[in-house]
Structures are given as C-alpha cells and as structure tokens.
C-alpha cells in the first residue's frame, strides 16, 4: 500500500519535473542559442545553430572593444538612476502627506494619481513629444527622465502610501516630542524605516526605465544619447545580414538586466505582487 503510494508520488513528481523542464527549455533554449550564436559566424549559424562554436569568433570582444556599447550602457544607467531618484523622492513626499495627513481634497488627489495607473504610456507619447519639443528637451536626457518619473508616480505613491500607513502614530508622536518637525520626521525617521519599501519601488522604477523604448526612441535623434533598447534595435537594422554579430549585441544588452534580476529578485517580485494586492 505505502509502496504503491510512494511510487505514485514518484511518478507524479517525475511528470511535474518533465513539464517544468519543457517550459524551462522554451525559455532557456532561445537565450542559449543567442549566447552561443554570439561566438559563431554566420556560416556556423546556418550549419550548426545549436552546437558548440568552432572556431570561436570574437564578436563579443569586438563589441566590448567599441565605445558605442559602453556609451549606450552608460546612458541607460544614467537615465534609470535619475528617473528612479526623482520618482521615488517625489512619490515618497506625496505618499507621506497622503498617508499621514487628513485634508480636504486628499481623496480626490489620490484618485487622480490612481487614474494615472490606467494611462497607457503610448497614449501620451505624441503630445508628450510636442510638449518636450516646445520645452527644448529633445536630445536631452531630461526629456526621458522627467516623463518616466511622472509616469512612475502612481504605482510608487500607492505602494509607499500603503507602507507609510503601517508605521504607528506613536512613532511620530515620539519624534515630535523629541523636537522633530514634519520634515525632520519624514527625513530622519520615516524614510529610514521605509527602506524595504523604498528598495521595492526603486527596483520597479529601474527595470521600467531600463526597458523603456518608445520614449527614448522619439526623444533622441542624436545617437550619442541612445539607450540600450534603442541601440539594440538600430544595431539590428544596421547589421541585418550579420546575424551572429547582432546576437552578440543582444546578449550583451541582456546581461545587465539579468544580473540585476539575480541581485534584486526579491524586491522585484515583492513589488509586483504587492502592487497588485494594492
């Protein structure tokens, strides 16, 4: 009886593993094809798409030795970090007020920001472009940083407000007794206490900025400001015939995102699941 039960158990777990491995293969194989393909030339790609490269072709080194990739990496980084600092800063201040002050018009403002959650970015891109052109912010990193920060506000405010509300009023009273004003409490007490929540929203903001394509695409006509997604797409257009080289470029541009995921997995997943639970 127990023997058949454990055997059923084992069959079941084998089946589950097989399903997981099949799904995993669908994800890993294309990426693996890209990673290996980056070491091949086009001849090898057509005769031997999945096998080991022979000889190993230095596509990766070529790209890394060329300043363009590094420049785009730097631009992506600059824009992601600046957008994140601005959105988290502005949202933390607003969320503080929304969480801890009762005032007329508060619900209206909170709803206003919440409605922003439903604005697809693509809806605003065209007027945003006209607006940025009017403000002379085309080919200027601020032209990407500020709109990204603005569109990140709703989700960031919602998550932070939720968190700020969980900090007991006694903490604030104690801080006030110790001579803290509102600013002192916010800066010296609330923000340090909110570090986990700040980490979560920062990770979400960084990933969103890092992957943004449409906005940098329309804002930067000057190549020296291109971010990685725009660069990857342009590189594909430029070397359309040299599949191996484009594969190498794509794989290199994936690495920072995957590395970041490996480090910040918990914040990222916590943020996404937490924001949906509201």
């Amino acid at each position: 009886m127990t023997a058949t039960a454990s055997r059923a158990q084992r069959t079941r777990s084998v089946v589950l593993h097989l399903v997981c491995i099949a799904v995993g293969a669908l994800i890993v194989v294309p990426v693996w094809f890209g990673v290996l393909g980056g070491f091949k030339d086009n001849g090898q790609l057509s005769t031997n798409p999945l096998g080991w490269p022979d000889p190993w072709v230095p596509n990766y080194l070529d790209i890394l030795g060329n300043g363009v990739f590094w420049r785009q990496l730097g631009n992506s980084l600059l824009i992601a970090v600046s957008s994140t600092v601005i959105v988290v800063g502005a949202a933390a201040m607003a969320a503080f007020v929304f969480a801890r002050y009762a005032f007329r018009g508060r619900e209206f403002l909170v709803t206003l920001f919440a409605i922003g959650l439903m604005f697809p970015f693509a809806v605003a891109i065209l007027p945003l472009f006209v607006l940025l052109r009017g403000m002379n912010l085309l080919d200027n990193p601020l032209g990407v940083i500020l709109p990204q920060a603005a569109f990140g506000l709703p989700i960031t405010i919602i998550i932070l407000r939720q968190f700020f509300r969980t900090i007991p009023a006694e903490v604030e009273e104690a801080a006030v007794l110790d001579g803290c004003g509102s600013f002192g409490f916010f800066w010296r007490v609330l923000l340090p206490m909110a570090r986990p929540a700040l980490a979560t929203v920062s990770v979400l903001a960084i990933v969103t900025s890092w992957n943004n394509f449409m906005l940098p695409l329309v804002v930067f006509s000057d190549q020296s400001w291109w971010t990685l997604p725009v660069g990857v797409q342009a590189f594909q257009g430029q070397y359309a015939d040299d599949t191996a080289r484009v594969l190498a470029y794509v794989v290199l541009s994936m690495l920072p995102a995957l590395g970041f995921y490996a480090v910040a997995e918990r914040q990222l997943i916590g943020g996404l699941t937490g924001s949906v639970k509201g």
Binding site: G37, M93, A94, F96, P120, P127, Y261, I269
Partner: protein, 332 residues
C-alpha cells in the same frame, strides 16, 4: 509652445483650491492647529509630484484631445479645425478597424491561453517539488528583459537560413520562420513572443496569491471527500479570484498599448496584419506627421483604457475590497 504656460496655470489653480494652502513661508507657524503649519507642509510635499504629474501625464492627454480636432502636422499651432473628422476618418479606415479587431484577438488569446497556462504553472510550482525555486527563477526571467531585446532575439531565432527556427523547420519539414511573414499567422507568432515574455509575471502573481491562501482550506475539502480537481475548482480558484481579475485587467491594458514588441518584430506587417493601435498611431504621428489624426488614435486608445477600466472596476472588481486601484478605505 503655449502649452507649458496653460499647464502651469491649471496647476496653480489646483493647489489653490486645496483648502489650507498658505505659502511655504508659513510652515513654521505654531499653535492654531494640531500640527504646526500643515498647509505649508502639504504644499511643499505635494508640489513636486503634482507638478510632474499634471505637466507630463495629464496635460499630454488634454493636448491630444485638443489636437485630435485639428488637421495638424505638429508644427506651429493647430489652426485648421475639422471637428470630429479625424475620428470619422479613423473609424472608416480599414487599418484602424483592423487594429481594434487584432487587439480583441490578442486579448482573447491571452485570456484563453496565456493566463490559464500561467495559472497552471503557478499551481504546479506550488507543489512540493525539488528545485522549484530554480524553475521559478527561470520562468520569471524573461519578464526583466526588455520587449526590444526579446523581439530582436526572436527575430534572429526565426531568421531565414541561420536561425534556430531553421533547425526546427528542417525537423518539422515546414518553414518555421515563415510564421512572421505570413499574414495569416503573424499575429499568433507575435502573441507567442509576448507570452514568452509575460507569462512569468502572471505566474508569479498567481503563485503569490496561492501562497496567501491557508493550506487548511483545500486540505479540509479533500478530507471531506473532494477530489484534487474539485478542491481546486471550488476552493482555491474562487479565492484566487481577485488576482485573476487584476491579471485580466493588466493583460487588456497591456494589449491596448502594445508597441515595442510589434514594432521590432514585424513593424506591423506584412500588410498591416500584425499592426496595433499604438503602431498605427506612431506611423501617422512620427512618420507621416499627421499629428491631428494620430492624436485622435491616441484618444481612442485612452478612451478604450478608461472605459474598460471604469466598467471593469464597476462590474468586476467591485467585490474585491472596492478594487485595488481606487482603494482608499481604511488601514486594510
């Protein structure tokens, strides 16, 4: 060019209607209110977020609404007022109507294929299974890749003669790469790539929700004689309801604005057969400089999202704690 000034006017107007809004200078006055100078505090703390949001999120929508009533190439001020002609034109345009239809197909596909698959995998990964942390890590990984990288990777995977698809084609005896070139299949190919990137997100949401359900509930059902399927169907699934409904919402909103993936994979082709609203809007707005017409398409996208969101909120999400989106209720 006049846009920024009108916008900052609205902003000033808005903060002024907020009841106690003395200037920041009075922030230090004491005694009259439980909190010293709270009006000033409010103004200072809210200003950055409000300024950004009104200027860069709300104003563009208003501008688009205005521009959509003009025939305008985007330069200078719109002067040629044509009323609703841009909208009439859009609804008479086969490409635009096709966009709506294709959007619907994508939504339906994701509701009947992507979300159920994600749900099944989440339930699977909820089982005690050695190495499930690794599976979870892998399944979610595509979500962190940008749509562009994903799209370029898959273009190459299916590139003629030297992609991975070529190997698959030889094995299948059919041309796998042709799925992107055939108007009849391209939309499904795009859908598969979109799902490749996003199913991990939904799986993760379902998994988190599943782990929030006490084990005792389904165990009790099984003890009472329910089969595993019955326990899932009548206990677990209803409790996952809120997350499922939010996922449907995210999926629909995501489909309405789908751009990056399509733009890089197919550019909307062949012959518009994978085009989406956002791609059509981009073509007219940034390629042909028919900014008025493109704005009308933007507004349609906006209204679709808004109407859908409101209806969904009213009809479907109402039961879930008044909806996560406008939930301003008590502490919890």
């Amino acid at each position: 060019m006049t846009r920024p000034s009108t916008v900052s006017d609205t902003r000033r107007g808005d903060t002024a209607t907020d009841p106690p809004a003395p200037g920041p200078g009075t922030a230090r006055q004491r005694g009259r209110q439980p909190r010293p100078g709270r009006g000033g505090v409010l103004a200072v703390f809210l200003a950055p977020a409000l300024a950004l949001f009104l200027l860069l999120v709300l104003a563009p929508i208003v501008v688009a609404g205005y521009a959509s009533l003009y025939k305008w190439n985007g330069f200078g001020l719109p002067e040629n007022f044509i009323g609703l002609d841009n909208y009439t034109r859009a609804f008479g345009d086969p490409t635009f109507r096709g966009d709506l239809q294709r959007g619907l197909v994508l939504v339906v596909l994701s509701l009947v294929v992507q979300l159920p698959a994600a749900l099944a995998l989440a339930m699977l990964l909820n089982q005690p299974l050695r190495g499930r942390a690794v599976y979870r890590l892998i399944f979610f990984a595509p979500y962190v890749l940008s749509e562009v990288t994903t799209a370029v990777l898959f273009t190459l995977v299916f590139s003629p003669n030297r992609g991975l698809g070529e190997g698959v084609s030889r094995w299948l005896g059919a041309d796998a790469g042709a799925v992107f070139a055939d108007p009849d299949t391209v939309l499904f190919a795009v859908f598969l790539v979109v799902s490749w990137k996003y199913f991990g997100l939904y799986m993760m949401l379902f998994l988190a929700a599943r782990q929030g359900i006490p084990k005792e509930l389904s165990e009790a059902a099984v003890t009472d004689g329910a089969t595993a399927w019955q326990a899932f169907r009548h206990v677990t699934l209803p409790l996952l309801g809120p997350t499922i409904r939010i996922s449907v919402f995210l999926s629909v909103i995501g489909t309405i604005q789908l751009f990056d993936m399509v733009w890089v994979l197919t550019g909307g082709g062949p012959i518009h057969s994978s085009e989406t609203l956002a791609v059509t809007m981009y073509q007219y707005g940034f390629r042909r400089f028919e900014v008025g017409y493109a704005s009308a398409i933007s507004i349609v996208m906006f209204l679709l999202s808004l109407v859908f969101a409101l209806l969904y909120q009213r009809i479907v999400l109402r039961r879930d704690t008044a909806g996560a989106i406008t939930n301003q209720g008590g502490q919890r």
